[in-house]
Amino acid sequence: MSRKGFDLFDLIKKVLFTDFVKGLTVTLGYNISKSITMRYPDEEKWIPYRRFRGLHTLNRDENGRELCVACELCSKACPTGCITVIPEENDSGRGIADRVAKVWTVNLVRCLFCGYCEDACPTRALRLGREYELACADYSCTLMSRDQLLVPQPVPESIPGGYVVKSKLERTPQGIKVTVDLSKFKKRSI
């Protein structure tokens, strides 16, 4: 129940700039606290946790045989229909079975990184990796094919992720590239 008219308490607050000081402590507090701005990509880069859903990877078993048996379940499970698999027979030991993918492409422009495909994969050939630098200035990066996805991603499975590592931005005639040094990392809370 507020009384109309004079309020002594309010007056004191105004004279002493209480609210102003309160606001200022937040600002000044951040001024002297550790910065959370990441100097990405020139100096630092965030390595996501393993559960992160980034660019698809196709994996091999310990003998280097492709795990993908071109069963097309990923493409069937995909809600956007962005994976195309065309199987073929190959007995040469390229894959774990005599059925391998002749074509395996994912259309990253359509992908919503839902991870259904990796859930569907019966051989764990397909995982969504931790690569997230997917932009490009032309269409070259929109379709990723088997050959590209079979190349191991820079962040290996053994690294748990969830921290920042040292990185460097390189400009090459082919475009820009971020290289990381996984041995130097700092924990960061986010």
Binding site: V69, C71, E72, K76, P87, E89, A97, D98, R99, P122
Partner: protein, 832 residues
């Protein structure tokens, strides 16, 4: 009739109905693996167990007939547990390699486990494996026995339906493996019916191996474009490539069966050699042009020509609508009566055959024929030419008491189902039929006539080479039957003398008060449709009266004399099918203006002035009329390659260039016009054949065409076929091979994989006496041609008969024939 209770619902069914069928009638689904309506019940899989009140054990419903008062439970807790148990055992040793298996996505085991199965297995033991790698059983079949559920459908279909008996079970119990004899490479019919019936991925098609998943495929329900059996099939494509053709259980007259051509021969559509742009000859060379240029070029060259000097030949593989428009273009726009649909048979023979087989009296279903007491099969090598009719005859004749009589010079697989086999001389159908007629008349004849008839009979027996005993057995069977079906094949068209005998026998049997059905068997998908659409020089649509014109032979004669100014050939390779060495080629080169519309650069197309790229069956909509007179719908699945067009559109474009109103403009409207113009087609509907029969009553009699109003066809008498008098040992006959028919099968990669080079078939005895063995290379030497080919021997073929199929490029059999000459004789010499 008995009354039973199924899940509390009371229903009345025929005696001896299986519980399974009764339950399905009542609307309850019972899962099955080994049950298939057309096959012998073996009750091996135990998926169909049901509970019968008062019986302790569950009973397999697929082999247990209903008894009056039975109370059956198809879905009780016990039944469900039993089903799950059966599936758990099936999975105990199952490979579970669904991701690799080609059946994945359309596998009955997957579906069943998903629906009824235990979703957890308790078997931890290592699985038993038959083998590690899939093994190839034939150029079209690959096998993985680790996935087998031991339903024995493959073995049964091969034995009971195909009659080939090459599959059997090795081993016992869960180590039982249905396969070929000790897994050897098979030399069989290659029809893939074992693949079709296998509920899991044991039998797989090699050409489709690891190409796709069922959910990638777009399909269309259509009709086989090879022989005139008119098998219903589903063709499927992925990304514009035709992937496979399959049959559907309980759909079409063929149900789950197809032959090698039908199942594996559809890939000619994908052939990269297809013509994909219109070509016009300029300065001696065929050069690509636009459609407008091509059509206007045609118009320029056809305008002001006398109709009588134009000819048209259309392939019996076009649709009814295309054929109808074709004859309309020829007759009404170009004013030409010279129309034919075949380069092999003479128009007179066709007319006689149409009359003798009563095609004008409406359609005759093969199932009606198989209800007769006696079936006489004559003038056809049914097992090779119309394999699915062979299956139907085998299956039905095994399941009921009936006589099957086969008359043919060559041995065939169906002989084993026949009660009597008449091995007659080549081209002596007439003598066989006349002997039968005389024999049937015997009792009625006064003694005075007897001597004369005996003389006639002797002459005919001698001509046919059949013994009097056999003839009299057949006569007795015919006399004792109240209904008789005659299945008459294309040999009557090759050797038309038999047509009069056929007409005579039919009339005689009818006059004796017997029910006679005659079914023609033909070798081109829409041959009957072509005739019924009036693509014939002697009659118009619906066998109506029309101005008579020239047939193929007459046109080529006219061309030879330089009297044929223009010829429009659609889909027919006259140059390589017409008998005689170079006659057709020379005649065609003298035609003033030759238009060829085809899918491939044929011998004929190479000589053309204008080449128009047409479409395959998979690329068009329309109807085909099969040999029975069943009008069935074909459906478009793919788009013709490049700038190729549907033939109906090309024919219409040519018509429109003369007369803007030429049409109708759409295939369905053309069919409407056909319904009006051809009374027998009044009831043909586009929705006919798209029904599925749940009760496996395959016959859709509704699709049979009705009788024509007043067919203007007559049985004529023909001169006996003469045989060349050279001293050579073998008489040469021709027809279709099991793996090949017509020109398009030579463009199918898979069929070429089954058989590429020409083969000549003779009897085992002849081969033995010549010191030759099956598989050897021989030279076949005729009076005017000789070629090298592989020898095949067949047990039971008439001695002195050699057979070469009509479509091999490396041994064009037409070159052995001489135009106007008799049936050629050849010698077979071993090549050294």
């Amino acid at each position: 009739m008995v009354t039973v209770k199924i899940n509390g619902k009371e229903i009345t069914v025929e005696d001896n109905t299986l519980i399974l069928d009764a339950a399905r009638d009542a609307g309850y689904e019972i899962p099955t693996f080994c049950y298939q309506a057309d096959l012998m019940g073996i009750g091996s899989c135990r998926m169909c167990l049901v509970e019968i009140e008062g019986q302790k054990k569950l009973q397999p419903s697929c082999v247990t007939p209903v008894l009056h008062g039975m109370s059956i439970n198809t879905d009780s807790g016990t039944v469900q547990t039993a089903r799950a148990g059966v599936l758990e055992f099936l999975l105990a040793n199952h490979a579970m390699d669904c991701p690799v298996c080609d059946k994945g996505g359309e596998c009955e085991l997957q579906d069943m486990v998903h629906k009824h199965g235990p979703h957890k297995g308790r078997h931890a033991e290592p699985k038993f494996k038959f083998h590690d790698k899939d093994y190839v059983l034939s150029p079209v079949i690959i096998k993985n026995s680790n996935r087998c559920v031991q339903c024995m459908k493959c073995v049964r279909v091969c034995r009971e339906v195909v009659g080939q008996n090459v599959l059997g079970a090795l081993g016992r119990g869960d180590h039982q493996e249905p396969t070929s004899f000790f897994r050897a490479f098979m030399n069989c019919e290659m029809d893939g019916n074992c693949i079709e019936v296998c509920p899991v991925g044991c039998f797989m098609r090699l050409p489709y191996r690891y190409k796709s998943r069922p959910w990638d495929l777009k399909s269309s329900d259509t009709i086989c474009p090879y022989c005139a059996t008119g098998c219903r099939m589903v063709i499927e494509e992925r990304a514009g490539t035709l992937m496979r053709a399959k049959a559907q259980l309980g759909v079409g007259l063929n149900s789950e069966t197809l032959c090698a051509r039908g199942r594996f021969g559809q890939d000619f559509v994908n052939n990269p050699e297809r013509i994909n742009q219109p070509l016009v000859r300029r300065y001696g060379k065929l050069e690509p042009v636009t459609w407008e240029e091509a059509i206007s070029h045609i118009k320029e060259n056809l305008t002001a020509l006398d109709g009588d000097k134009i000819g048209g030949i259309a392939s019996p593989r076009l649709t009814n609508e295309e054929l109808y428009l074709f004859q309309k273009l020829m007759r009404e726009v170009l004013g030409s009566p010279n129309i034919d649909s075949s380069s092999r048979f003479s128009p007179d023979a066709v007319e006689g055959f149409v009359a003798a087989t009563g095609m004008g009296e409406g359609g005759v279903s093969v199932y009606d024929c198989m209800e007769a007491d006696t079936v006489l099969i004559i003038g056809t090598h049914l097992s090779d030419e119309n394999p699915v009719i062979d299956y139907i005859v085998r299956r039905i004749s095994a399941s009921r008491r009936m006589n099957v009589i086969i008359a043919s010079p060559r041995a065939m697989k169906l002989d084993s189902s026949a009660n009597i086999v008449l091995r007659h001389n080549v081209a002596s159908e007439n003598a066989v039929l006349t002997s039968l007629v005389i024999g049937l008349n015997e009792g009625k004849l006064a003694d005075t006539l007897k001597g004369m008839h005996e003389a006639q009979l002797d002459a005919n027996l001698k001509a046919s080479g059949v013994s009097a005993d056999l003839i009299s057995t057949v006569v007795n069977r015919l006399a004792a039957s109240s209904s008789i079906a005659i299945i008459a094949g294309t040999d009557f068209l090759r050797y038309p003398e038999g047509i009069s005998g056929l007409g005579l026998l039919k009339d005689l049997l009818k006059s004796r008060g017997k029910k006679v059905t005659v079914m023609p068997v033909l070798d081109r998908a829409n041959q009957r449709g072509a005739w019924e659409m009036g693509v014939h020089p002697g009659f118009g649509p619906g066998y109506s009266e029309t101005r008579k014109g020239l047939g193929t032979e007459g046109m080529l004669d006219a061309a030879m004399k330089g009297e044929l100014e223009a010829l429009y050939v659609v889909g027919s390779d006259v140059a390589s099918m017409y008998p005689g060495d170079d006659f057709a080629r020379t005649a065609l080169s003298k035609v003033g203006f030759l238009i060829v519309q085809d899918m491939f650069m044929t011998e004929t197309a190479r000589q053309a002035h204008v080449v128009l790229p047409g479409a395959a069956h998979a690329e068009k909509d329309g109807t085909y009329t099969n040999q029975e007179g069943r009008a069935q719908v074909i459906k478009k699945l793919l788009t013709a390659p490049g700038r190729a067009k549907q033939d109906i559109n090309i024919i219409r474009a040519i018509g429109e260039s003369f007369d803007r109103s030429f049409g109708p403009k759409h295939f369905a409207l053309v069919l409407d016009e056909i319904r009006k113009e051809v009374p027998s087609y009044a009831d043909v509907s586009l929705s006919f054949n798209n029904k599925r029969n749940t009760d496996n009553k395959l016959d859709n009699r509704g699709a049979l065409v009705k009788a024509a109003a007043a067919p203007a066809v007559k049985v004529k008498s023909f001169n006996p076929a003469s045989v060349e008098t050279s001293g050579a040992r073998f008489i040469l006959t021709t027809g279709n091979h099991l793996f090949h028919s017509g020109r398009s099968s030579m463009k199918s990669e898979t069929l070429l994989g089954l058989l590429k080079g020409a083969v000549v078939e003779i009897s085992e005895e002849d081969a033995a006496s010549l010191g030759l063995k099956s598989g050897e290379k021989v030279r076949v030497k005729g009076a005017n041609f000789e070629a090298q080919m592989t020898l095949l021997t067949k047990k039971g073929t008439k001695s002195g008969v050699a057979f070469i199929a009509e479509n091999f490029d490396d041994a064009p059999v037409n070159r052995y024939f001489r135009r106007g000459g008799g049936i050629p004789r050849v010698d077979i010499i071993k090549t050294i």
